[in-house]
Symmetry: C2
């Protein structure tokens, strides 16, 4: 069967919501109906029910829905004047629908459409399927309370959520992904693997990095540091607060204020916790006269910035209030732009691939209606971005007019192992800040000229990226990223000394190794190591001490294997070097 | 001649101030006298003069002073009732002295002492030398304006500064140190060597680290990271803001508020820019149940903290408003304390020595009158600190009662190449925060017990330490710390390619190398490299390309020397490894 396209799928989901409402009406004829829109992968409907609904009721509703699918009831549309519709819903005693209609009348609407499915009548713009027989696979997932129109002064209604897909297989796949996603939730794994925590007494959205998580950060920073050094970046370090005037000059104070924390007063001047690093890097650029010979100048910083997010949207590491950008700013001439963009894209993809990501969705956002800078420069910049994308031979989509007012940009979304997309890399050309901060360089003719500025983050932020990494790998990091690579398990207390010697020797070869010398059984210790997703467990007993062979358990494998010490070290070295 | 001791020197300096006032009176009989106290290495005196004084007058004053020294005038002391003194100073028309006397009278003083030297009479507690002939070597250094009693509503007086030492040689040594210190001023060198800058538009006391300075930080951080890893530290990363309640619990909000910045409001709660890292590390400790088997637990962080300092006391990198501590906290049992202190002292001195410091002044501060915690624990802790110091075989002084209320401490001051002292390392035992934050671990008996906490910073702060390093080395860092180790200077444009090849090959061997390919003379380029304190310059011309021998100029040396490539690489490797 051919897959139905997205808009048909959306229609089906909406019809499925109506069907659920019809089933609820069958079971509870006194139900008053709120609204029932589509959401991602499904739908919900809000009801005022005569009794409290418990999850045990969901199968009954489902059974009723299935019955109506079997009956292949048509979705019948009727256009009618608003007043007639009000009369109709009064006759069936549906106060919420009447409230909506009264409002539509006030706003001057003359005519509305209603849909009927079996006995169930709804106010609805449609469109809908022809009949209930066309509904695909669905599942009612949960019951929640929801205030009428989201206002806590209104009555609390009962909301039932459902998922719907065109075929059973897709629904099952999606359920599997959900189940898998829950297992991989980085908030739980972060705790289990002792990577980070959030403490209420410190503040929401402000992660504490525990030793293993801080080590993961350190590994990632080190890797980037080396990579970017060889790409001609220079690293800088800047403070976390700065005079408010910096952001008044940049324009952020006007356009971005809702994300900026309240000012700190120092000696009658106001300072801001920095929401971005650009003004600081600009000030370093501007601290001396620059020559065309120095360009491109590339300043990089692991810059920790603080941005306000509502407490409701905070989510583990992927939505926080303070985060460290792998930030950089590049100043170059218009002629140098194509090569820079090219290198940025190459570096960015190389780095993302090193972390095991293979699928990308790339967007090029072009000039919006309102923009700053010379249109010719925009054209050249957009061309540079486009050429770089063409060269990369990756698929990309153009998002026309979606550039920022100050310049065009490329965004890269990575797909994780569950196929979910995460925005990471952004490469933004900026014609605005060089103007506002009066940046220049001395050109070949000895005259002042304005450079072009590029803002770019490859991973985005360490917090978010590590959150994604955890979910991508379900915490089972590749060997080069695993905070502990090898755990040595002595069989009994008399094997502890030999285990420690082995660990010491491996450590000297830069293998991250620890000994589990607690007084527990080997089986229990191996299970612990597996839960902590440690790549290799070495069990050391009499045999191992005598034979000089190692008994190795590889993460995720049931059996233990024998391996010479040399072979094991080679294997681990190979895994570390392996480019995914 | 024996050196006179400090208090005699202080008396001499004060007498020298009187002598200067007597000389000024000789030259300007209408002078009204303010006050004339001692300061470090000398003295000043404030005068209301009938005319503006320019520096050209200083030799005249000096000459007059010398004359009076030749006359060996006695310092004559007289005790008299306050009222009599008022009468006396009224008769010689000295309003400032009268003002001081009126105040003393109000405070109930009955009797005062005056000193007379020649015609000059002063209100003074003394003591003084017997006569002017005992005055040693002095120099009048500068003239400045100063409000009477430091209040800008009062009259501006003329302040003359002087230095005084017991012998000419000491004065000259001190003048040399001053001159040398000015040459080594890290604020100037920081700019010349492009290490860091302060920008008014960002804020006073908030350094921007330029690439070379940021690299120096990176080197130091890397070195510490490795050293501390092998000493059993675990690294953590914590945010720069946290709920105000953390510091209310710790007590800092009460006792330290003048150094804390105004709170930031987030969702109706108050947050502080962190003045210290302890509460965050404590929260990580407290995020799970700890067993005695885990102790000692050592958390380290390069933690950037922000503390208010008045703008008047800010000074380059050595007194700033935001700085990165090489901070760590250790939790251990009372029994483990001696070994920990021992290791801390060993690590600290090893690290300071690696940076080229050889002389230390060490202080052990013991229990003050007001203290928290069990006196027995104090005794044990003080004993641990003392034993560790004894073992180190270093001289130290006990500062009785100078410990913090929460525990005893060791402070290490380093002496730089000019003999100036800088407070760096601090090791503080804390019985207080474990109590306030309810820290515990499960002991061998399965019961909760409170650990001891140690706060320690070895370098103190990266900013301050780098400021001291710059002055210690006058910017000519040892090879391992030099941001650029080798500069390659091609003789002409046809030697650029070979120079770049050489630089590339050295870089591959982890030697930090760059090519100066500007169109300037070799002599000029060599002088530039010398000014930038680059350890090695390699001049590459036809001869060097043909012979494969290098022409090397070593920093500070006039001559160029011939050296094989292999020899040069060995030499540089040796310099890098060299422990000073």
């Amino acid at each position: 069967m051919p897959k139905i396209n997205q808009s048909q799928l959306e229609i089906m989901r909406h019809s499925c919501g109506h069907l659920m409402a019809a089933a609820v009406q069958k079971l509870f004829p006194e139900t008053k109906f709120g609204i029932g829109p589509n959401i991602e992968n499904g739908f919900y409907y809000d009801f005022e029910l005569p009794a409290t609904l418990t999850p045990e009721f969901l199968p009954k509703i489902k059974k009723e829905m299935k019955k109506m699918i079997g009956q292949n009831l048509p979705f019948i549309k009727k256009e009618m004047p608003v007043d007639e519709a009000i009369k109709l819903f009064k006759s069936i005693n549906q106060p919420y629908k009447i409230e909506l209609l009264e409002e539509m009348k006030k706003q001057g609407e003359k005519s509305v459409s209603i849909y009927q499915t079996g006995d169930f009548i709804d106010l609805c713009r449609g469109p809908h399927l022809k009949s209930t027989g066309e509904i695909g696979a669905f599942k009612l997932t949960k019951i929640a309370g929801a205030y009428w129109r989201g206002n806590e002064k209104n009555k609390m209604l009962t909301r039932i959520y459902g998922l719907a897909f065109s075929h059973e297989e897709e629904l099952n796949n999606h359920l599997k992904v959900l189940e898998e996603a829950e297992k991989r939730d980085h908030r739980n794994l972060g705790k289990e693997l002792e990577l980070f925590s959030f403490e209420e007494e410190i503040g929401a959205g402000l992660p504490l990095w525990h030793p293993k998580g801080a080590f993961l950060r350190h590994l990632i920073e080190n890797y980037l540091y080396k990579e970017l050094n060889s790409s001609g970046y220079q690293w800088v370090v800047t403070p976390h607060i700065g005079n408010i005037n910096l952001w008044k000059t940049s324009g952020h104070w006007n356009f971005y204020r809702e994300n900026i924390y309240s000012p700190i007063k120092i000696d009658e001047e106001e300072f801001l916790l920095k929401p971005m690093n650009c003004p600081f890097h600009i000030k370093i650029y501007n601290s001396k006269i620059r020559s065309y010979k120095e360009l491109p100048i590339r300043f990089a910083e692991f810059g920790t910035v603080y941005r306000y997010e509502k407490s409701g949207v905070l989510h583990g590491l992927t939505r926080v209030r303070g985060f460290t950008q792998d930030d950089a700013h590049i100043w170059c001439t218009l002629d140098q732009l194509p090569k820079e963009i090219n290198n940025l894209l190459k570096d960015g993809l190389k780095i993302l691939r090193r972390f095991g990501f293979k699928d990308f969705n790339i967007f090029l956002s072009t000039r919006p209606e309102k923009f700053t800078g010379d249109p010719k420069h925009w054209d050249k910049a957009e061309e540079s971005l486009k050429n770089a994308l063409e060269k990369s031979k990756l698929n990309y989509q153009i998002d026309p007019g979606a550039g920022v007012f100050y310049g065009p940009k490329i965004d890269i979304k990575i797909k994780d192992s569950l196929g979910r997309e995460w925005q990471c890399t952004t490469i933004q050309v900026d014609f605005n800040l060089p103007e506002k901060f009066e940046l220049n360089y001395i050109n070949k003719e000895g005259k002042k000229e304005q450079p072009i500025m590029i803002h770019r983050a490859l991973l985005g932020s360490l917090e978010r990226f590590i959150g994604v990494l955890i979910e991508h790998y379900a915490g089972a990091f590749p060997v080069w990223l695993a905070p502990i690579q090898v755990r040595v398990v002595p069989v009994g207390s008399k094997h502890i000394k030999a285990s420690q010697k082995l660990a010491r020797e491996l450590k000297e070869k830069d293998i991250r190794c620890e000994v589990d010398d607690l007084n527990e059984t080997v089986g229990y210790k191996v299970r612990k190591a597996e839960k902590q997703k440690i790549p290799y467990v070495l069990v050391i007993g009499d045999k191992e001490i005598d034979s000089k062979n190692l008994t190795v358990r590889i993460r995720g494998k049931k059996e233990m294997i024998k391996m010479s010490r040399k072979k094991f070290e080679e294997k681990i070295r190979e895994e570390i070097e392996k480019k995914k």
